[in-house]
């Protein structure tokens, strides 16, 4: 069957709906702005929640005409496969390696977030990284750890969104049985996504999905996409089968469901190696974050800055900022898979919360 070009284009334009937490956070920011503007809590009763059915706004009749979507069917299977492959580019074996000298003791994050001070070569004159091999080796040594990423989005000087993400194992491939509590790797990836808005806990999600087999990285691809969290959709949808635990602090409810998961995009040695070899990441200077010496890397286009520990060469921080754009900071920590740290992967369900279907 030969599909019309425009119909094909329409099919490729299909996207999955936004996560509830993302919409909630954006709407809360809007509510805050409206409250500041009018001095009244005019929207509190509306939030959170997915947008409801269309309704005429008070004093503003809406005569919205919605044309049917030109296309309703699926996206290309190869596109799905390509996205899955590219989103989880891993190339590191699972053999446990000794921790690098100076690494944090088990159970302690390394390093703690803090201010960044940078010295060294002037900005704008980045050079090729001479110690790429050291950095890459150190990256590989963190594979069996738990990766914890704290993402903070700041708009107009105010932090609007904070998301804490745990992923274990840190490279997203099959577990290697090095958990500190003796738990053997079982070929699954466990993740937790905890979302705050203005210091208030919004949602707490737990995801379990199959680990992927290591795949070779595509040179130069995705160097500006060092990390993204796992995403899920309610079937039918593309992705690996997974289990979701969804705890909503807004509605004081929780539920579990079988979902489809698109795996996390994780900062692995193979990916960074490909980016370094392709000249996509360059040295921009040296600095200190919370007392830890770091090497600052920058993408060739200058859009992103990545700091890695000079002692352990583990990624410490990733920052994306610019004029008239949200300032987004990712802070990385690698935690030893001790019993206490593994417990952090499971979102707690408060006893008073009601169970609901998903």
């Amino acid at each position: 069957m030969i599909m019309d070009a425009i119909e094909l284009l329409g099919r490729l334009g299909q996207v999955e709906p936004a996560d509830q937490a993302v919409v909630d956070a954006a709407l809360r920011g809007l509510a805050l702005a409206a409250r500041r503007d009018t001095g009244q809590d005019i929207t509190a009763r509306e939030w959170p929640g997915r947008p409801g059915p269309r309704a005429a706004a008070p004093g503003r009749p809406l005569r919205v005409r919605r044309r049917p979507r030109p296309v309703t069917a699926a996206v290309a299977a190869v596109a799905v496969a390509a996205v899955a492959a590219l989103a989880v580019v891993t190339g590191i074996g699972r053999a446990p390696l000794p921790r690098p000298a100076g690494a944090r003791p088990p159970g302690q994050a390394h390093p703690r977030p803090g201010r960044v001070t940078v010295s060294g070569p002037p900005r704008g004159t980045p050079s090729r990284l001479p110690t790429a091999a050291a950095i890459l080796t150190a990256f590989s040594r963190s594979d069996s750890d738990i990766l914890r990423v704290t993402k903070i989005v700041t708009t107009a000087g105010e932090p609007t969104l904070k998301i804490v993400i745990w992923v274990w194992p840190a490279d997203g491939t099959a577990g290697d049985g090095t958990a500190g509590d003796g738990t053997a790797g079982d070929g699954t990836v466990r993740s937790r996504i905890l979302t705050f808005y203005a210091g208030t806990r919004l949602t707490d999600l737990g995801l379990t999905y199959p680990a992927t087999a290591p795949t070779p990285p595509v040179p130069g691809w995705g160097c500006d996409d060092i990390f993204s969290r796992p995403r899920f959709a309610i079937p039918p949808a593309a992705g690996a089968p997974g289990r979701l635990t969804d705890v909503s602090y807004d509605t004081r409810s929780w539920g579990r469901a079988t979902v489809k998961v698109q795996a996390a995009n994780l900062p692995t040695a193979a990916r960074l190696r490909a980016c370094l070899n392709a000249g996509q990441w360059l040295v921009a200077g040296h600095g200190v974050i919370a007392g830890t010496k770091v090497v600052e890397l920058v993408t060739a286009g200058g859009a992103l800055r990545l700091w890695v520990s000079a002692a352990t060469c583990l990624p410490v921080r990733l920052r994306s900022s610019g004029p008239d754009a949200p300032d987004i900071t990712f802070t990385f920590a690698f935690l030893a898979p001790t019993r206490a740290n593994l417990a952090m992967l499971t979102p707690p369900v408060p006893a008073a919360f009601a169970k609901r279907p998903i």
Binding site: G13, A18, I42, P58, T155, S321, P323, D324
Partner: protein, 191 residues
């Protein structure tokens, strides 16, 4: 002055509440627009920014518009352009891989999927070869379901211009994907 006039303050609050409700109703559509153009992560990060900017610009919203989406997409487009400038990606054309990489497969259709898979690369190349303005009109109509007139409103161009751009973009896309007019496309891009 609203600050000292309780009835005026109440009216302003009611108007703000109505506008917030309007934004709430369209937040998913705005997110989808952002995701198609800039990828899912960018959409997550930029949705709040779009809503705040729309709120700040609400006095410019015309209540007579039958559908607020073109106006909202115009704001979202500006936010995305700033995002692209910040990322140094060189504009919408560079974002094509991201928008085409965002996928969902809610209604399996084996034949169509196979066909789409075979032609996806060609489609991306063809899209990249369109002029920016033509591509924007085409995607607003094809992906967002806007009419050409609504796309014109989103882009701030006359409706007739949007219609001609859409006609041209569709024709070129079909020609390129049919493999019949690669040379014509090159001259089209330069025109």
């Amino acid at each position: 002055m609203p600050d000292s006039d309780p009835p005026a303050m109440a009216a302003a609050a009611a108007q703000a509440a109505a506008f917030c409700d309007l934004l709430r109703q369209h937040s998913l559509a705005i997110h989808a627009y952002l995701a198609r153009r800039g990828g899912r992560d960018a959409a997550d990060d930029l949705l709040g920014d779009v809503l705040l900017r729309a709120y700040a610009a609400r006095l410019r919203y015309d209540e007579r518009w039958p559908d607020p989406r073109p106006w909202l997409y115009g704001i979202a487009r500006n936010v995305l352009r700033e995002h692209w400038r910040r990322a140094g990606q060189g504009g919408e054309a560079a974002a094509a891989p991201a928008r085409l990489a965002v996928t969902e497969d809610p209604w399996p259709d084996v034949d169509s999927r196979l066909d789409a898979a075979a032609r996806r690369a060609d489609l991306r190349r063809a899209l990249d070869r369109l002029a920016d303005g033509d591509r924007e009109v085409l995607l607003l109509v094809t992906w967002e379901g806007l009419t050409p007139a609504e796309a014109a409103l989103a882009l701030g161009i006359p409706p007739g211009t949007a219609r001609s751009r859409l006609h041209r973009a569709r024709a070129v896309m079909r020609q390129l994907l049919a493999g019949e007019a690669a040379g014509q496309a090159a001259s089209y891009q330069e025109a």
